[in-house]
Structures are given as C-alpha cells and as structure tokens.
Symmetry: C2
Subunit: 555 residues, 2 copies
C-alpha cells in the first residue's frame, strides 16, 4: 500500500465571494464540505442561480462518503438539491447541525427529494466516515448552529472553519467553542482552511448583542411605523428586533415569505422566543396604530420582488409607507447590490420616510470575524499548514499575511484557487495538478455551463436586438416566390422604419438573385449569404450589429 | 405688462446623480444652465448614453438665448451636441470658462458641429443675455475652470453653484471667490440652487493639495512599476502625480486616449506643467526599468475597455503588470461601478500587484463640498430661497436640513424634482405645474425615449431568448405546405432539443390544422394563434417565457 495522501480541492469560494464547496479526499474516499451557490451578476442574463462546476465529482460519485454542511446559508447549502439531482444520487448522507439540517430538508422537500438521508450531528460527537473521523465544533455566525468541520485522519486533522466569528457575547449565550479549538491546536492541526471574508477589516466585529440596544435607541426616536429589514436567516437579529419592539410597547409583524418561514423553523428549534400575543398577522396590521407596530421585512439587499422594495415603490398589497415612518436597514449590501439598495433607500426618502443604515447607527453586526479574530483562530489552532478560503484574491492575500504575522512559515501558507488541489503527505504539502472548476448556471429548469451558447446569444440580443428574414424560394429554380418577410425586435429605429424595411427587402431580393445567378441552391449557403449581406447593410445604416437570422423556405 | 415671473425648471439632476440641466426663464426668454448626461445602468441594455428629456425645449427653441456650462464634466456638458442636433439648431451661443469651452468645442467638432458659437467668459465679466445679466464666479472643483452661474434679474439674483467645494489650498493657488459670493449675499441672492452631492458627508473635503504628498509617500514605498488611475479630466491630480514622480526620479507615461487628450488640452491652457523630458511615450515604456516609471492611466471606474482594466486582465498591448508592481486608485467608484472596480482590483491582486485605494491612504480628494462647505455657501450668500440640486432624494433632503440649520425658514426651502418648476414673483415662490421630464436614450446613432419598445424587447430577449417559427401555408386553402421551421436563440436546452423541436413542429401543425378547420385564414390571426399555442407549450416544457415570433408565409 502506498503512503497515504490527503487532497483538498476547492471547487468554489476562492477568488470569489460565494458558492463555497470543498472536496476532501483520502485513500480515494471523498467528503464534500459545503455545497453553496452564488446569485447571478447583471451580465448573467436570465440566469437564476450560479453553482460550482462539480464535473470533478461526476466520475467519482461512488467515492463520495458524505456531504457535510457547516451552516444554513445559501452560499454553503443552496446547491445541495441541484448537485444531488445532477449527480443522479439520493443515497449520499448529508450531515450538519439541527438548524442546518432543517433547512436542508426543507430544500430537498421543495425539490421532491425527501428520500435523501439527512442526519443531525451534535458538536462533540465523532462520526466514522470512511477513513475520516468527523467532528463538528460550535462556532458563532449570523445564523444559529454554525460549525467548523474537523476531519481527523491518520495524517492529522484538517480544520475547515466554515463562516465564523468569535462573538464573546452572542445572543444565545453560547460563544464559539474556543476550548475545543485550543485542544485541537495542542493535539496538532495539520491544515487550517479558514474564512477570509473580513480579512480586510481591522479589530474585531461588533458583538451581535450590541445591536439590540442600538435598535431600541433607534426605535425610541421613531414616531410612526417602523420597518426593520434584515436577512431572514439571521434569527438572533429577529429575536433582538422582537425584544426591542416589546420594550417600546410595539407589536411585531413578519412580512416576506422567507422571513415567516425562517422564523417558524427558528421557533420550532428554540432559537427564537416570541412572547405570546406579540405577533400580528399581516392582514391585521392596519388594526394597529403606526406607533404600535414594528414590521420585520425581507428586502435588505434591494431584491426586485422583495417586500421592502415593493413598499418603497408604493406597490405592496398590505404595507403603505408614508411621511414620518422609519425604515431601519439592519444589514449591509452584499457587493454588487449597492445600486439596488441605494435605489430602494432613495425611494423611501422620496416618500418621506426616515432611513437608518449602518452609516447612521451600529444597527448591524457582521457574521464574519475581523482581522484580530482570524489571528485568534490561527493562534488557538496552531496549524502546520494554512490555506485561506472564502474570499476574493485580495482577502486571501490579506489572510495569508495574517498567518505570516502570527508566525506560520511563508512556505506553509497556500494561496489557492478554485480547482487547484492541495496535496499533503508525510513529505509535506504542495499544490497538485489543476482540476476542472468554474461556474454552472441554473436557468429555469435547465443546468448548463458558462460557455453556454444561449447566454452568448442573449448578450447579443440584449445589446442590439434581432432581425428575422424569411425568404421563400422555388424548389425548382431557387427564384424568390413571395415577398421576403423582415421582422425585427429590440432594434431601435423609428420614422425611417418603413423605408428601411423596403430597402432590407430589396437587399434580400438582390442577394437571392445573385445566388441564383451563381447557381447557389443549398439552403445553408443561401442563409449564409443573406446573413452576411443583411448584417453589412444593417451595420452601415444603423451602426449596430443586431443578430440576423435568415430563414429560407423552399416550396 | 404683467408682473415679471421667474421660472426655474430642472430637467435633470434632481432625485438622481447625473445629467444636470436647468432651464431658467424670465419674460419668456430662456437660459439653459448645463447640458449633462448620465451613463446607462445595467438594465439599460445596449444603451450608450442617457440624456435629460428636453422635450420642453422643442417648442421653445426660439426662446433660448444661451446655454451656459459651469464646467467640463460629462454630467454637465456631455449632452451638448446631442441636444443641439435634436433641436435642429446651430446658432444658440454656448458660454463657459476657457477649459470648459475648449472641451465643448472638442465635442462639437467630433459631431461635425463646428459652426456652433462657443464663447469664453471670464469670471467678473457681465454679459447681457435677454433679460438676464450673466456673471460667472470662480469655484474650486475636481477640474479647473469651474464656475457658479449668477443670473441677475429685476427680481433678484439666481445663483446656480455648479459642482463646487471650498478648497482653501487648491493646487493652482486660486481658492473659490468667496469675496464675490459674500458680496452677492450682501446685495441679496434671491435663490440658491446648490450642489448636494456630498450633503451626507460631515466636515469638509480633503484639500486637493494634500493628495500630492500622500501620493509621494505611497510612491516612495513602491519598488516595481507604479500605475496611478484617476479621472482624465482631473488635471490638477495629474499634475500632482507628475510632481510626485519627479521627486522620486521616475518618468511618467500617459496611457488611455482620454488621458492623453485631457492632458494636452490642460497643457495648452497652462493648467498643468510637465517638465521637459519627464514624459515617456507608451512605446518607449519598456526602455525604462520598472522602478523608474509611473504610468497614469484611465480606468478608475473599472470601465470594460479602459487601459487599466485591460492591464488587470493581462490584455494590454503595451503594459504587462507583474508581481511587485503597485496600482494606486486615486479616485473612488461612482455608485453603481463598485463591482467593476472591485473586480479590477481583485484581478490585480491575482497578478500579485499591490493595490492602494482610499481605504489604505488618502490618495483621493472629492471635488464636492461636504456638509460644512454647503453651510459656508449658505452663510456667504444668505439666499432668500434655497433649492437643493445635484443629488438623489436623500441628499436633497439632507441639504434642505442644512439650510434650515443655518436659519433659512422652512417655507423658503424647496425640495424639488425633475420637471417641477419653481416660480418666483413679487408675491413669493412656489412650485408650478409639472412639465415633462425624464430620460432619453442614445442607442447607436438613434435617440429615443424610455418607453422605447426596443428596450422592452431587449429585456425579454435577454432573459429568455427567442423562438422563431415559420409556417408555410397554401394561399388556396390555408393548409400547411412545408414542414414548419423552428429556430431558437438564447433559449437553454440541450440533449432533449431534437425531441422538443419535433414536438414544437407538431404543435405548429396542430394549430394550423385547427385554424384551417375553423376557417381562420387571415395571416395576423394565424400568427396570433401560433404565438399563443407555442408560448403555452414552451412554458409548460421549459418554465420560461422566451419571445415567440411566428411568421406565416402564404404561397
């Protein structure tokens, strides 16, 4: 038997923020840690979701022992049903803590995949999974039941932090399990694979429990209705809004589907405690005077169909905001959402609402540790090797600098990329040969890769529109037997349109006549000629390159 | 003769950032102050530029006495050639200070409109323009030759600030003309129409001349090549980069078309002084060792085709960056550009460059006054009425609060919107009836309005693509005489495509047969039936709503 080799292959989350997914291999057995997704950027037209390219796993399905999910956020859990469906398997066990598995089950149910085995693991339990001994370590984050994943192997322990911070006064009174992390450090951590999200922020993150009193201060100054928007999965934040509302004698209403769903899950697992009679149903909201109500709403990212966005555009069926109401953004924009958030805020100002954001008061706390917390993790766990994860190249670079600063030798710090496996054996650690990685897109019910021709076509269509030309020619001699049809969509021209259409038809006739003269009869050649001639004509006239789609019908 | 009434109609710049344009009327005579544009947002597909809707001026062309431009930035000057072209006039005089008029002439030349009269006005000169006495007041901003516009009338003085700040140590040693502003205030300012861009920022903006020494400190720490990116029109910034480079014994190269053009204009007008032998041509750059060169580049906003973006993507013909080079962002992202800028920065980190932004060092100073500067303007000019301009609703709201804070009565502060004219006569000031305002789009060589059907079609095409169906039917009996053609673009489906296409053709045949059975022969009705039947079928199968474009050809 050859000497054991551990491989850690990031399929997402490096050189980007989102779609975290890491493959850990030993003796050809695989554990997948996290199966996250990303939301599309503006240039991914019509795309619904972005998944990590998991082609690497297609050949290795039988080697997968388990999927472990560190916490219930979309960027760690969201790709689960898609990937299982595409891999065509239903029997790989999914492990996580209670809230995480509740969210996983809810997702799998929505995709009619109830049969997938999802199992709760408590921190401290040890689970034998092939050659791995799996242990979860309790961490604090902006969702309850977050965990780091320790994979104990014969080569040593791999510690994958998940998203974390060291909140010394969390809302539920349970700080991260620093004792266990220190114990792992004493026993020897082989590799730390750690969250880099806030590697650019100094000091430590505001404690979540400092947000509650701040919300209460903001609420105390508000005279009209109060709307608080936050991430629906930030259950401790919702808890604090409820407490602040209670302290000021206001009732609470939950608006937005995911807000109601997450609060229900949170209540059933005991993560949130809403006193009897505090909760008002959306349809009852108007029975309460403005100064007696706090609305907790989705839409903190300016999402187009979210409850808050609809309120800002005066388009929400139940909530009409007006002069004197206050909207509190208890969240910060995810990079890329700034414009949508600012647009929502400005609409609220136009209505006359007061708006409170983190620029005005500390009404939000990040779920990711700042620089001093990353150093604390490094010093507690004393890893031999470090690989910064969950971050763009800038944050990976900064996290690597922190590792150097606490004394990890430069040669033991690995600045990775998606698809680049880190290989560790008795002789040391090094990057192996690059594996396939990247993005795949969910588009309606279909899944495709980034080179998808559909997307390229959509970009072209979105920029300049389309011309469709239908030419009807005789099967006998190729002559034109009906006036060519020219139809366009998404192409800008106005008064000159009739004249231009006439000229386009003339161009088609001329092209067909020329082709007939040259004895060109094959349909595909005719279509090519029409495509080129019309494209040139349209560019000359409009200085635009719309798609030109010629159809030749033989009769 | 009726009592005189002054009307001030904002056509752009209120409730938004950009496309500033204001119409000032007295005795039916018009002066237009600024003719700015905006750049399109991601949802304006294929649109090149956004102009203010100037429909109001179409009926009033003969009443326009002049166009006055406060400074040479695109959001104040950029729409000039488009608007003159669309209004069909070449003889309206355009006034501004020297750099502004030089830029205006350059734009008009590019649009082959050399005959438009463009005239320099010096601060302090008085120009009779119909019922207005025009005066420019020297201000400081992030481009030389910025001015406020004072329009003296029989009702009093309207002061339109343009973009400004009170830089007490500007690079050229010429602070804003506070003495003249104070004099105007003593004589009595009727209305202050003021820049609100930084109404949300406390204190005062960093002095431009503090940026130079900071750049020198950053340069001194850099070992490899240095790239500085900034707005090309920020000529004093370029000057400071040149001085910092000189102090450290580095040469300077200008990269990017607009950078070279603006520096040329700036040099010819004496705004920038580049010592003999300091300037290196792009083609000579590789003759100099890395530590002897500073490259000044366009691309501070992450623009797709800009020089810096191409460097970051290793796609620039002359500049190849590598490990150890330093890139300095001497600018901040305009809202909406954050993602493009961050993307550029992260690519630079991937290459191994050091990146310095305003988060790391004060290497940029805003050209817009902060809150204390807006108060200073209010206190110097002591206006009777105040109308905050150049800002979204939030900033207008905050600027209005500042006016209240310095003692302007609440009833004399007007929070306006585009299209809402402020009317002032001997009896007081009030908003008049709303006029048409909004956006118009430049799309290639065409100009259209926001409701443009082309744009709606492009959105649909970009989200879900298009199906084109060509059915060939007999002129005699409407029966199908050739197999229907089904073509699609931008629609995602893969292995099932052949089967789906067969089913689509069958759907077309079935629809045609049904129509024939019902004696439906009119082409438009047939097309409607095909559109509806195919749309329903496609949605059922793909859960998408691509555009369906049926073409029925009769032979």
């Amino acid at each position: 038997m050859s000497a054991p080799k551990l491989r850690l292959l990031p399929l997402g989350g490096l050189g980007e923020i989102g779609k975290n997914m890491t493959v850990v291999e030993l003796e050809d057995r695989i554990v997948v840690v996290d199966v996250g997704l990303r939301f599309p950027t503006a240039d991914m037209m019509g795309i619904d979701l972005v998944l990590p390219d998991f082609a690497y796993l297609r050949e290795r399905v039988d080697d997968i022992e388990a999927i472990v999910v560190t916490h219930g956020h979309e960027d760690h859990l969201g790709a689960l049903p898609w990937i299982l469906r595409e891999l065509g398997v239903r029997d790989i066990p999914v492990y996580g803590r209670k809230l995480t598995t509740a969210m996983a089950r809810s997702k799998l149910d929505e995709h009619r995949m109830k049969e997938v085995p999802v199992e709760d693991v408590e921190p401290g339990e040890h689970l034998e999974i092939g050659p791995f001994d799996l242990e979860l370590v309790h961490m604090t984050h902006s969702i309850p039941d977050a965990a780091a994943v320790a994979l104990h192997t014969e080569l040593g322990t791999v510690l994958i932090t998940g998203d974390y911070r060291f909140d010394q006064t969390p809302v539920d009174g349970r700080p991260a399990d620093m004792a266990r992390l220190a114990e792992l450090g004493r026993e020897g951590v082989l590799l730390l694979y750690g969250d880099s999200t806030n590697a650019d922020r100094p000091g430590i993150a505001t404690s979540e429990s400092d947000v509650g009193p701040e919300l209460e201060r903001v609420f105390a100054r508000a005279e009209g209705r109060i709307v608080v928007t936050s991430f629906a999965s930030n259950i401790h934040r919702v808890q604090q809004v409820v407490h602040a509302a209670e302290a000021l004698g206001r009732k609470v209403a939950l608006v937005g589907r995911s807000m109601r769903k997450n609060v229900n899950i949170g209540r059933s697992l005991g993560h949130i405690d809403v006193p009897e009679g505090m909760l008002v149903q959306p349809r009852e909201m108007n029975d309460f005077p403005d100064h007696k109500l706090v609305i907790i709403s989705t839409g903190s990212q300016g999402e187009p169909l979210s409850a808050l966005r609809r309120m800002a555009y005066r388009d929400h069926p139940q909530v009409q905001l007006h002069d004197g109401d206050t909207v509190v953004f208890s969240a910060t924009p995810i990079p890329g959402n700034e414009r949508a958030v600012n647009d929502t805020i400005d609409r609220l100002y136009q209505i006359g609402c007061g708006v409170v954001t983190t620029r005005d008061a500390p009404v939000h706390a990040s779920g990711h540790g700042h620089r001093e917390e990353l150093k604390l993790m490094l010093n507690l766990t004393k890893p031999r090797y470090v690989m910064p994860a969950h971050g763009d190249f800038k944050r990976i670079h900064l996290h690597a600098q922190l590792a150097e600063a606490v004394g990890v030798p430069e040669g033991n710090i690995f600045r990775g990329e998606n698809g680049l496996p880190l290989e560790i054996d008795a002789a040391g650690a090094r990057f192996g040969e690059r594996e396939r990685s990247g993005m795949i897109f969910v588009d309606g019910v279909d899944i495709g890769d980034v080179a998808d021709v559909a997307l390229r076509d959509r970009r072209m269509l979105s920029a300049d529109g389309i011309f469709v030309v239908v030419a009807t020619v005789s099967e006998q001699d190729g002559s034109s037997v009906a006036e060519p049809e020219v139809i366009f969509r998404g192409v800008p021209f106005r008064e000159e349109a009739t004249k231009l259409l006439d000229e386009l038809r003339a161009t088609v006739e001329a092209s067909l006549a020329r082709a007939a003269g040259e004895q060109i009869r094959a349909i595909d050649l005719l279509q090519q000629i029409l495509h080129d001639d019309l494209g040139a004509f349209v560019y000359e006239r409009l200085r635009r390159r719309p798609m030109v789609l010629p159809v030749v019908v033989e009769v």
